[in-house]
Amino acid sequence: MNTRCAVVRMRLPGVDSVDQLGERLSTHVETCLRCQAEAARYRTLRRRLGSLSRERLTAPSTLLPSVVARIELEETSESPGRRVGLRWAAVAVSAAAGAAAAATAGTIIVVGLRRSHHAA
């Protein structure tokens, strides 16, 4: 094993194909059976890892009900959606109270003005 073989072996785990090793090293791989064998192992490894993406494990039967239960629990307590709804309700109540207060104040002022007008 020469220096180039050592460099190829050092760099192979970090690349997705031999081409990424650069022209000089990839040319070396073409002529070196040991490096070709090592490159083939990493190719096989990447292919096998990639094939895992098509495999699905079966989730435990408890997963779905536990998620539904957690969500229902959140919804019955103070969920973000509920908080938003409550906030809007609070805004509406405040606005109505403000309007009522303003109307009352306006009535008092008008009545006051009328009284002072009559007195004059």
Binding site: P13, G14, R46, L57, A59, P60, I71, E72
Partner: protein, 192 residues
């Protein structure tokens, strides 16, 4: 309309309803994606029990955030990101509370009898590659799973794992080298 197009249309409908707070629609999404999310969780944490908790928490987080889901990515992609983040939250929590972190070998309960379905799962996780993956330190396993199984880019991995792109590349290098040495242990690096 082809079958995948129909499924995509139905999923878009479910996502649209769920974003408006429709709990039944979201439950359907959970039903459709539970196996995929659980699989990713198992691969990230290499522990079935913990993976169940990670998957459950991921869906709950998704429900809380579904109103902000704009559909820029597929729902499954969005769920993957949430699952990876949740796996890391659980890892950190476990690191704080346990003496032994997640860098442990995956253990299948010995007394558990396997149905044909569970037997299939077991083969998918275990086998030489599954065992080698589970034996990797968590920091290396997560990078190689995200890059080589789920085809994330180094940039995406770095963002989600809160590490630099260089660190992601270094971890991938180490992970692949470790897997290669484990899987072809009889053919050492000096050449067979």
């Amino acid at each position: 309309m082809t079958q995948p197009e129909v499924e995509r249309f139905e999923e878009d409908e479910l996502v649209s309803l769920a974003t408006q707070g429709d709990q039944a629609a979201f439950t359907e999404l959970v039903k459709n994606h539970q196996h995929e999310v659980y699989t990713l969780a198992v691969r990230m944490v290499a522990d079935r029990e913990l993976a169940h908790d990670v998957a459950q928490e991921s869906f709950v987080r998704a429900w809380r955030a579904i109103g902000r889901f704009r559909g820029d990515a597929k729902f499954s992609t969005w769920m993957h990101r949430i699952t990876v983040n949740t796996a890391f939250t659980h890892r950190d929590r476990r690191k704080r509370t346990a003496a032994d972190p997640l860098d442990v070998v995956y253990h299948e309960p010995e007394s558990e009898s396997l149905s044909p379905e569970r037997g299939g799962e077991s083969a998918a996780i275990r086998g030489p590659l599954g065992d080698a993956l589970a034996a990797l330190p968590e920091s290396l396993r997560s990078v190689v799973v995200l890059k080589d199984v789920y085809e994330w880019t180094h940039v995406e991995i770095a963002e989600h794992l809160d590490i630099t792109v260089t660190a992601a590349k270094v971890r991938l290098h180490r992970a692949r080298k470790s897997l290669r040495l484990t899987l072809w242990s009889h053919q050492n690096e000096e050449g067979a």
